[in-house]
Subunit: 300 residues, 2 copies
């Protein structure tokens, strides 16, 4: 089966459409790379590009993206609401099918090294690829942003993993790493009491003692007049959707409130849904190799 | 997205390995066709070949298979326990991804016509491709087997859909059709009382008033000393796995018996598991297009 890895590079350009188009064109022109989504935000002045392919396609495509971004984006003139420290701000690699997290970590290192050599942009490895615990969290790596990067990198704690020990004058620095896919998963409650959703969110989220790979908050769906537990699942293998749902159901029942539905926003890896089917159908000895489409791809 | 159709041709040869190998080689040599499984049974003197591809690959591969089978299998000398009427006995086409049942019916007609013209083998369209209700059921089409085929085809009810109005001297006739994938799905009960499994099987199966696309019987798992409801799901879109499981659970509870697990034997289409996830996670507005791997294939 061909290895399938996803990458979601974020570039610090969301206003000049010709620059975004040139970046996308560089990705599209890479053999074996597929562009799944392009999303530009004017306020953030940032574009999120979603691509997939095998290691070689992602390696070539990412370097082609840097060629455009480093040449055409100058952080000294960049303004936008979203925190950023580089022309190519962050490049995560995400295992999807036939590839492991270790493959993605290796790819992050390979890409990081090549980018540093070719473009003289300092690279910080983050998340699963981080070289030290204090570099895991992207927010920590990016704190201070482009403007504070020179001072930050003078601290031995923030020597880059690859490349020069000072920021690139116009292109700053990049975070390159490996992580699990994110799943945006919301659970709708049969109540208009926002406080109940907020209490449940607190019960399930990691920061307050809940599930390790779960971020959550309570929000109000004004149109439907129902409260929602809005969740980011950061590792569906270790904190699965069904376990979070059943915990929310149990917590809600304590207030006499039912779960009326749930929703997945955007894309979801097939395995996250397979795991839910496996759980609820109480399957014995089920293997992903039994999925017909997967068996077919394994013969490719 | 490339159209993906499965086919499971059955040939009346399970003993002479060189003939089976020649048949498999003809399939393997067809561009774009993938051989997923080959299963030969000596007692049945029959081989079940599982392949997948798009319409053109299946068309070419099926004709290549007939070339071998019609040339090397003589039903006049064939003995085996399984009912059969042709060298290539039955050819079902099964929609998997990006293809509809209508596509498979059209393919069955196209293949049937070409086989009849090229090999002078009479073709009966069956299941979803059947040209009349009495020809839908494969068992009815095959009743009388090879030996009774001449007499059967003298009846105007059994004029073939394509080809000569008498059997091919050595290769008999074939059933070519379209159907949904079969799923072998077993549900294990927390009891050693076989009768409870038999009663539940009767409650859920079509022939006794149960679900339209469900065949079931009660069996004993001697090693584990538990009873099992052994099920064939013949159309998981219209009779979904989760509905059958929850009905079995409810019927078993009437005897104070729990469902201890279930199992899928062999391959299962991804969509059957997605449907279970969608149901139990109570998803609102979920679309298969949100599955990441599928989105990627859509860009192919």
């Amino acid at each position: 089966m061909p290895r399938l890895i996803e990458s979601v590079p974020n570039i610090s350009e969301g206003r000049r459409s010709e620059v975004v188009e040139a970046a996308v064109e560089a990705l599209r022109a890479t053999p074996g790379l597929r562009v799944l989504d392009v999303s530009s935000d004017q306020d953030h002045n940032r574009s999120v590009l979603t691509v997939a392919g095998d290691e070689d396609a992602l390696f070539a495509g990412t370097l082609a993206l840097y060629e455009v971004a480093v040449g055409r984006i100058d952080l000294r003139a960049h303004q936008g609401e979203h925190p950023r420290m580089g022309a190519v701000d962050v490049v995560p690699f995400i295992p999807i099918e036939g590839a492991t997290m270790a493959d993605c970590v290796a790819l992050a290192r390979r890409v990081g090294q090549a980018v540093a050599e070719r473009f003289a942009v300092p690279i910080f490895l983050y998340e699963e690829a981080a070289s030290a615990p204090h570099r895991q969290n992207l927010a920590d790596v990016r704190r201070g942003q482009f403007e504070g990067l020179g001072a930050k990198m003078a601290d031995p704690q923030w020597v880059p993993d690859f490349g020069p020990e000072a920021p690139h004058a116009s292109a700053g620095a990049s975070a390159v790493g490996a992580r699990m896919p994110l799943i945006a998963y919301n659970i709708n409650l049969g109540t208009s009491d926002l406080e109940i959703a907020q209490r449940i969110a607190k019960a399930i989220r990691h920061s307050n003692g809940g599930f390790r790979f779960c971020k959550a908050m309570g929000v109000m769906l004004e149109q439907r007049q129902i409260a929602q537990v809005s969740i980011n699942m950061t590792d569906f293998k270790r904190t699965p959707l069904f376990r979070v749902l059943e915990t929310v159901r149990s917590e809600a029942a304590r207030y006499g409130v039912p779960v009326v539905g749930s929703e997945i926003v955007g894309l979801v890896p097939a395995e996250a849904l397979m795991d839910a089917a496996d759980h609820y159908l109480q399957l014995e000895g089920f293997s992903p190799g039994q999925v017909l489409e997967r068996r077919i791809r394994e013969t490719e």
